[in-house]
Symmetry: C2
Subunit: 291 residues, 2 copies
């Protein structure tokens, strides 16, 4: 296993070239896609994908296009989420959001382009392999980011905004809007490594529980009014009737639930019998983040 | 080979079930996706995919998920094209467009959902096969609909609107916005049938030239002010400085170019030595359409 920083460097170095390597892209579209793709962030999802593939004995060089594809999908979702008709956010990571920098039409197309490019990149890689493992990894990602996954969570978040928060509703949103996209890299990485069924299950559980804990911590940071919140919600969101875990379970309840999800994530991944310190330490870091 | 009506019935029967079969989709998202998907149309792209697979000796039942996926991609592109920030169309096929019926946020998500569902559906099918032919077909579709294909054409159409029409510019838009999406089914169908390289080339040429002739005819119908125009452009578009083939080549020039593209399409497909009457007759019908 490598360190987070080493996986991160691999991702950073491959991201822009893998997009531009698809062929001649119209200048304005290319600029808009790179503007959002290169805006930084922790690259948590692609790093998890490389780490999961590595952990289960796969070839991380082979996994790199899938890691980049997943980051493109995450990026497209942020661009479309920020649109005036959605969350109407003018800023993203301290810079003007895509539609503020390029106009709405180009922002919509940049999102569509990144989603399409993600599948093109992953399928190019899948077609170079001597088995269906690449197609299976791409399928897992498609499922987690699609109409029963991330897009479903996003839809419920948008259509239920302002309604009475219930545990069922908030859990659905967190599970699909956030956790599915942290589960996708664990599942895809394990599939690329041709992991055994029991290991697949451990990878999925780790991803989902980590995702839930991650979102709960985000909700806590929001309530505490931290400007350093990693999510999109502001300190005012809870008061504005946003569907957060804190609004259902309170601060102490959310803290306890996050700790329980974290425990489950660590139990699952250590249960594989491999040295899972990369994943247990990452989980602790994410939960303890104050900024 | 079957008739157009027979392929069409297969597509119509499979389209909604294949979307709903992906799992539990939030009600509003499902409604919005089905609203656009079931709005009808000629289903030209999925029919071409089934016919191409059949023509080259493949199994059309195996091709059906790819045909449905391609129609979902075509449908997502229409939903996003109609958005206020894009073409701002209130009507689509005589009914309110998606954002008029469901609001902008849901329309954006319905488009994102259809694009994601298309790849999920195709990858599910690809993973059931005993070779990479499904992954290769999905890859061909991803390329034709992505950042060097349809999304590229759409971007140039949007960003260059109102500028001086040149043959190069208009050809680029027609090639990518329209022809790539008629080439995709020919290419994918042939790949699913494991066609030989020379046959692949014939399929691609037929699709591209048919697409160019199709768009030229659309431009002609617009100029003739026909309300029955199949494209999105209205009779006023040419006057409004829209980038049409007629604005570059005139009515007679466009008619001649369309006939030449049609000739090339038919020459390519008959050059395979198979009975290509399905494709030559389809090409004639599309060019001669008056409504």
């Amino acid at each position: 296993m490598k360190t987070y920083a080493e996986y991160l460097r691999m991702v950073e170095e491959a991201l822009a070239p893998s997009l531009c390597g698809l062929g001649e892209i119209p200048e304005r579209l290319r600029q808009a896609m790179l503007y959002s793709l290169e805006a930084g962030g922790k690259r948590l999802r692609p790093v998890l994908l490389l780490a999961a593939c590595d952990f289960f004995g796969g070839d991380i060089r082979e996994a790199l296009p899938f890691a980049c594809g997943l980051e493109m999908i995450h990026t497209y979702s942020l661009i479309h989420d920020d649109l005036p008709a959605m969350d109407d956010d003018d800023l993203r990571r301290g810079r003007p959001s895509s539609h503020k920098a390029f106009g709405e039409a180009t922002a919509i197309l940049a999102g569509d382009g990144l989603l399409s490019a993600a599948f093109e990149l992953m399928l190019n890689a899948a077609c170079r392999m001597d088995s269906l493992r690449g197609a299976k990894a791409a399928r897992a990602i498609a499922g987690r980011c699609g109409v029963t996954g991330m897009v479903a969570g996003q839809t419920v978040d948008v259509t239920e905004e302002g309604t009475e928060p219930t545990a069922e509703k908030v859990r659905y949103i967190h599970l699909h809007k956030t956790a599915d996209l942290l589960c996708a890299p664990m599942e895809a990485g394990a599939l690329l490594a041709c992991a055994r069924p029991a290991d697949m299950e451990a990878a999925v559980t780790y991803g989902l529980e980590l995702g839930l804990a991650f979102q709960m911590t985000d909700d806590l940071l929001d309530v505490e009014g931290s400007e350093a919140s990693l999510g999109k919600r502001t300190g005012q969101d809870a008061a504005a009737g946003k569907l957060t875990w804190v609004s259902v379970r309170g601060v102490e309840g959310t803290r306890a639930d996050a700790a329980e999800s974290l425990r489950r994530a660590k139990t699952a991944i250590t249960g594989t019998g491999r040295d899972a310190s990369f994943f247990t330490e990452l989980a602790d870091t994410l939960l303890e983040r104050k900024n």
